[in-house]
């Protein structure tokens, strides 16, 4: 809770900063906790429902806790044409999760994103902010394994 208030107080008390506040909460907690939104409603003096509307509207925000490592698989057009849908199948086979799901051990979450702007390297996968270009079915398990506990990176 302390962290929540720290984030909120770093912005002036104006509605227009609500998206930025939620993004910061998302970055910190990997999701937006209910208490965070309640505190925001109190701080901004706005209805909780309007914040809930935003949290469900914007793709960058999530109400469910995410895994430790976030896999962003690009399914933008260029990646799609170069076989990103196969990688979705590949991740399902390797980790047993589909888009917007988290592994039971809480290690990985998969998000499908529409273009990370690195089309020349398609298909692209971003894990915790690290970009992997020209990912193939062969390379996929290798990349994912490097994020497991104790793996040398």
């Amino acid at each position: 809770m302390e962290k929540v208030w720290e984030v909120l107080r770093s912005y002036p008390c104006e509605q227009r900063h609500s998206l930025a506040m939620m993004q910061d909460l998302q970055h910190h907690f990997n999701y937006i906790p209910r208490e965070g939104m309640e505190a925001m409603a109190e701080y901004l003096g706005c209805p909780l429902s309007s914040l809930y509307a935003m949290a469900t509207f914007y793709k960058a925000l999530s109400l469910k806790p995410k895994g430790k490592h976030i896999i962003k698989l690009c399914d933008g057009t260029a990646c799609h044409i170069r076989g990103s849908s196969n990688l979705i199948t590949g991740i399902r086979r390797t980790l047993g999760i589909g888009p917007d799901e988290t592994t039971p051990d809480g290690l990985f979450s998969l998000e499908l994103v529409n273009c990370v702007g690195s089309c020349a390297l398609a298909p692209v996968m971003v894990v915790d902010g690290t970009y992997y270009g020209k990912v193939t079915m062969e390379k996929l398990p290798e990349i994912l394994d490097s994020y497991r506990e104790g793996a040398a990176r």
């Binding site: 104006e14 509605q15 227009r16 900063h17 609500s18 998206l19 930025a20 939620m22 993004q23 309007s50 509307a53 935003m54 509207f57 914007y58 793709k59 960058a60 925000l61 399914d75 933008g76 057009t77 260029a78 990646c79 799609h80 044409i81 170069r82 076989g83 196969n86 199948t89 590949g90 086979r93 994103v113 529409n114 273009c115 990370v116 702007g117 690195s118 089309c119 020349a120 390297l121 398609a122 692209v124 902010g129 690290t130 970009y131 992997y132 270009g133 193939t136 079915m137 062969e138």
Partner: protein
């Protein structure tokens, strides 16, 4: 003095350019610098030729190295920096197999005409001094001596039209906002590049942030605004960082802030990070998002130039548009208008991607043909396969077939054929791209991104997606094509904003130019491109197979068996029809047919 430029754009970083830059710095430091040669490493923005990254350029000799690894650094320092000898193996090989020494001779760069991308790859985006040395902020200096009318007149002469998609004349937006006598006014930059397959805005924001700030400042002078916002996708971390650095530096140097270049004019700029919603590229939705609400569009008029942010007059321009503004002010509108076509002046940046040999960002004069872009600059189709279509303008655009390759690209021509310029995504497809599946892909994207406010867009897209998915999965029926056309027409006419109005374009253009492909899916239960898994069976032609084992190694399910130098076989019960074997095969031995054997 020689300068070593290491590209550290997102693409090159993914290829490991940070390690290359570090190695240069380490070795230069370790060797205590050669007495004759002083080198330093600049972290430049994106070159657009990301596929061949990390890219290293040695100035002033204009030598460009590709796919540089940290282990190559010592050799480059010895040969090219201390001496004048190129490292042959790191040079680019052109279509004739010759090594190309200079960037200007590379077939990817040679035909380009750079306006918006002029500084990218040449200056360090984190150093305002670099931008100033390249002639930066001269245009702003000039604008400060002009009246708003004179600035807008210069824009009018240039014929600049918005590069974000619709192609609305930029001067007219500025004129409208300048004429409204309501204060405060705002300027805003649309950096919410949501088009999947386009990344020119990211590149400009990352690689030349000051040019965007300068464009915004000139706009602010023209309309009388003192505050501005840059709305940038949160996914573009480096872009947000570089813009924030640029704003802070420009304020510290007295360029922006309370006294624009020492005058009594002021401009306060700040960054708003986008929340990841495609619809926020629409101006009224973007404004709602900056105000801290859901990014839903509203009906226009009133246009934002009259009533925009916080209800005040607001001019909203795209990143690439703003990057062109300083050139117009510095060199004059007439000079700018010398390049381009009758109705579309200047240049346009395209993201040339997909199944093309050389991918990346290319900036060419308006009116260049698709053939020029795809074959001369792009080097043709990967693996020399047949060209099938090019998709322009992202989800709002359309697919243009092979017989229209000589079409000149400008705002009006593309619109005439059902496609659109959009933000400049140019996705090249070969005979292994299924046009029905591409249409389904876009409709799925749009149905997820539709904000849901107006019914035609929300329900129409959902219905279209259902029909298209059915066709791709073998449940297509007679009458589906006509129904798609009908729903598409309704969307075009009755949607609230451009997202819905243009959403049927990918479907309608693929039906128009590739109707037979739809019919093959529906009538013969066959996907001619071999993409739709429910309709495709993969087999290996035993005559053509040389038994090289590449396919069996590429197969993710272990469905392919066979001994070395013997024909391989696919076990249909294990095959998931992913096509990895077909991509891997060098002899064209992997074949596809429909489930019914057609």
């Amino acid at each position: 003095m020689k300068t070593i430029l290491v590209c550290c754009g997102t693409g090159c970083l993914a290829n490991g350019s940070r390690a290359v830059a570090d190695e240069f710095e380490r070795l230069i430091g370790e060797r205590g610098m050669d007495a004759r040669v002083e080198c330093y490493v600049k972290r430049t923005g994106c070159n657009g030729f990301c596929e061949n990254g990390p890219i290293v350029k040695i100035e002033p000799a204009d030598i460009m190295y590709y796919k540089v690894k940290p282990s190559d650094v010592a050799e480059i320092l010895e040969k090219t920096v201390a001496g004048d000898e190129p490292v042959e193996r790191l040079l680019y090989k052109n279509d004739r197999g010759e090594r190309v020494l200079h960037q200007k001779d590379n077939p990817f760069y040679a035909p380009q005409h750079k306006n918006a991308l002029r500084n990218i790859g040449a200056i360090d985006p984190t150093r305002v001094e670099d931008y100033i040395a390249a002639g930066g902020y001269e245009a702003l200096k000039r604008a400060l001596t002009m009246t708003p009318d004179e600035i807008i007149e210069e824009l009018k002469k240039s014929g600049l039209r918005g590069r974000g998609g619709a192609g609305f004349p930029t001067w007219r937006k500025w004129r409208t906002a300048a004429d409204v006598d309501v204060y405060p006014k705002y300027v805003a930059c649309n950096g919410d590049e949501g088009d999947p397959g386009a990344f020119m805005d990211r590149s400009v924001l990352e690689g030349d942030p000051h040019t965007v700030l300068e464009g915004l400042a000139i706009c602010a002078l023209a309309i009388g605004a003192e505050e501005g916002f840059l709305y940038i996708r949160d996914e573009y971390g480096l872009a947000v960082k570089n813009i924030n650095t640029a704003i802070a530096d420009a304020e510290r140097h007295g360029i922006l802030g309370d006294h624009l270049l020492g005058t009594d004019r002021k401009l306060k700029l700040s960054v708003v990070r986008g929340g990841g919603a495609f619809v926020c590229g629409e101006e009224t939705a973007l404004i709602a998002s900056i105000e801290g609400r859901c990014g839903e569009p509203r009906p226009r008029p009133p246009f934002p130039a009259v009533k925009g942010l916080f209800g005040q007059p607001t001019v909203l321009n795209n990143v690439e548009t703003l990057a062109n503004v300083p050139i117009i002010l510095a060199k004059g509108g007439e000079q700018f208008a010398r390049v381009g076509t009758e109705g579309s002046k200047g240049t346009k940046v395209f993201a040339l991607v997909g199944k093309v040999k050389r991918t990346g960002l290319v900036e060419v004069p308006m009116g260049a043909t698709l053939r020029h872009l795809i074959y001369d600059i792009g080097g043709g189709i990967q693996g020399d396969r047949p060209f099938k279509a090019v998709q322009t303008g992202g989800p709002s655009g359309g697919c243009i077939p092979a017989h229209m390759l000589d079409l000149p690209i400008d705002f009006d021509t593309l619109a005439q054929y059902g496609a659109m310029m959009g933000s400049g995504g140019m996705i090249v497809m070969d005979d292994r791209s299924c046009m029905v599946e591409v249409a389904r892909y876009y409709v799925k994207f749009l149905s997820e991104e539709s904000c849901g406010k107006c019914t035609p867009c929300r329900e129409g897209l959902r219905a279209m997606l259902e029909i298209l998915t059915g066709i791709c999965e073998g449940r297509g029926q007679e009458g589906d094509i006509e129904l798609l056309e009908q729903i598409g027409a309704t969307l075009k006419e009755s949607s609230l904003c451009s997202l819905g109005k243009t959403a049927p374009n990918p479907v309608l253009t693929t039906i128009k130019y590739f109707r037979e492909e739809y019919e093959a899916h529906i009538r013969q239960r066959r996907c001619p491109a071999g993409v739709c898994t429910a309709l495709t069976v993969f087999t290996i032609d035993p005559e053509a197979c040389r038994g090289c084992t590449l396919c069996s190694r590429a197969c993710p399910t272990g469905a392919i068996t066979g001994a070395v130098k013997k024909a391989h076989v696919i076990d249909a019960s294990k095959c998931i029809a992913c096509g990895s074997c077909r991509e891997a095969c060098r002899f064209g031995a992997v074949e596809t047919r429909g489930r019914d054997g057609v």
